[in-house]
């Protein structure tokens, strides 16, 4: 039976937490550290953006500065998150096999998230892997996932499991489609995101969730987990990486050649007002928010939104995914005309693309990165 080291640590700083994950991934790939499952929490609270996100686009910097909330950038992809004592961080650092080099992102995400799903099942929560990279409970996201493949061959699977979540606080820290943080905005988010405590019939502690997920990985991957800690060599290497990269503003505030662009559209339909917000990176839809005063089951709407995350922005492609979603939720979406929704999305996407065109016209705008890129 293969053996993984299990590291449990709590209240870590953003820079240490991320440096440790990346450092172990390089070392596991190089064969100088053993495969490790790290189940940990960050010191409340910090905000972490994805590898290629622009920090200022994703985070309310003024709020974070005023409240001493540290920011950092993950080595893995995906969107901005908050992490703290109620969000369990998972970092699985393992050597990649040859076939992993050729596996699709979705396959890897599904494979590695199986430990989470198995662990939650033992707590009575039926979670599933959905879309390209989400773990959900009844169409509500309960864990965010990301993967980094290091040049030495190591694989880092990152996950943030929501044991609990202060939605209002998250909306203050992260930039969102909502203009104001109202009860309605909080309720709208609560229809799309859930937590372990909300889904569980008993008030689970973070340690209980952690133990369940450790057991889930043990069972799913057929490994034995041996409790351990960082070695002195590892701590030295983590410290060096933390200082050179994760404590560097060049890394945290790095900009990318493709700024996220935002667009919106409001159209009146016989069913009511339809309010769509789109976030694009180039020609890819990163996220769609479908709101308004029409009548439709929130779960079905959330599923449509999930189908359109990380999705080509072309109208033909969007229509194909909407048609598939409507086929699955026909009864719940019959008051929301597909054609009207498609038109609202098309307008929101076009609005976002106009913003991108405007940025391109500025030769010293978003496409010129005055900061030197920090390579690992």
């Amino acid at each position: 039976m293969n053996e993984w080291r299990l590291i449990i640590d709590d209240g870590v700083s953003a820079s240490f937490g991320l440096a440790a994950d990346e450092c172990l991934t390089h070392r596991v790939g190089a064969g100088t550290s053993q495969p490790t499952l790290r189940l940990y929490t960050y010191r409340s609270s910090c905000a972490l953006v994805g590898r290629f996100q622009n920090t200022g686009n994703e985070i309310n910097l003024a709020y974070c500065e005023a409240h001493g909330i540290p920011l950092n950038r993950r080595p893995t992809g995906g969107g901005a998150i908050i992490m703290g004592k109620d969000q369990l961080g998972i970092a699985l650092c393992i050597p990649g096999r040859e076939e992993d080099s050729y596996r699709h992102a979705r396959e890897l995400m599904a494979h590695f998230s199986a430990g989470i799903i198995s662990g939650l099942e033992t707590s009575g929560i039926q979670a599933t892997f959905q879309g390209k990279n989400d773990v959900e409970v009844q169409n509500r996201k309960v864990a965010g996932l990301g993967v980094y493949r290091a040049p030495e061959g190591g694989l880092l699977f990152h996950a943030s499991v929501l044991v609990d979540l202060d939605i209002a606080f998250m909306l203050r820290v992260l930039k969102t489609p909502f203009e104001k943080i109202t009860d309605k905005a909080i309720a709208t988010v609560a229809e799309r995101v859930t937590t372990i405590r909300r889904e569980s019939s008993s008030p689970l502690t973070l340690d209980e969730v952690r133990a369940s997920i450790a057991a889930g990985y043990r069972k799913t991957f057929g490994v034995s987990l041996v409790a351990g800690d960082f070695t002195p060599d590892e701590l030295q290497a983590i410290d060096a990486l933390e200082k050179s990269k994760y404590l560097s503003s060049a890394w945290v505030y790095q900009t990318t050649a493709i700024p996220d662009t935002f667009g919106s559209a409001k159209i009146k339909t016989p069913a009511g007002l339809l309010d769509v917000r789109a976030t694009l990176a180039g020609n890819t839809i990163k996220a769609i928010f479908i709101g308004g005063d029409f009548f439709a089951a929130e779960g079905a709407v959330a599923d449509l939104e999930a189908r359109l995350r990380w999705h080509p922005a072309s109208p033909e492609s969007v229509r194909a995914s909407l048609v598939a979603g409507y086929a699955e939720h026909a009864d719940q979406l019959n008051h929301l005309p597909l054609d009207a929704l498609q038109e609202a999305i098309r307008q929101a996407v076009r609005d976002a693309q106009k913003a991108e065109s405007a940025a391109r016209a500025d030769p010293y705008g978003c496409f010129v990165n005055p900061q030197e890129k920090v390579m690992p």
């Binding site: 290629f52 992809g77 699709h104 980094y148 493709i258």
Partner: protein, 140 residues
């Protein structure tokens, strides 16, 4: 290992050991890009970044990163030399590479040890052997 789909590897190009990057050597310039196989495994690329012109690189050094659907991969230099140019157009619009990986290059390099580095790349008989070792398969 078996890969189920046929991928195109133009015979005039060189490939690093995992066949994820191609290298075209012309005159004193090597142009580097992503292969069709890389694109298939990454999925649609959303972000690309590379290091900037003027930098010296060695085989094994990280020269950039790509992200597709929340998975980030580092790209590793297949040859040594000096970065002469990076393709800002594909960094702004990765859809160009998603549409045709052999039409959109990532960086141009002035090789410093092409004869040595080329020996470690897949090309000609070595490429054919690699293809045979990965049934399922590949095509030139």
């Amino acid at each position: 290992m078996t890969l189920e789909k046929q991928y195109h590897f133009p015979s005039e190009l060189y490939y690093e050991s995992q066949a994820r990057l191609w290298v075209l050597f012309e005159g004193d310039t090597a142009t580097i890009g992503l292969t069709e196989l890389a694109l298939e495994t990454f999925g649609d690329i959303v972000y690309i970044s590379t290091i900037k012109p003027g930098k010296l690189i060695e085989p094994g050094q990280v020269i950039g990163s790509v992200e597709a659907a929340k998975m980030v991969d580092d790209l590793v230099a297949p040859i040594s030399g000096e970065i002469m140019a990076c393709n800002e157009e594909v960094q702004r619009n990765p859809a160009l590479i998603n549409a045709d990986p052999y039409a959109g290059w990532l960086i141009k390099v002035k090789p410093s040890a092409w004869e040595r580095d080329a020996g470690a790349l897949l090309h000609g008989p070595a490429l054919k052997t690699w293809i045979k070792q990965h049934p399922g398969g590949f095509g030139q």
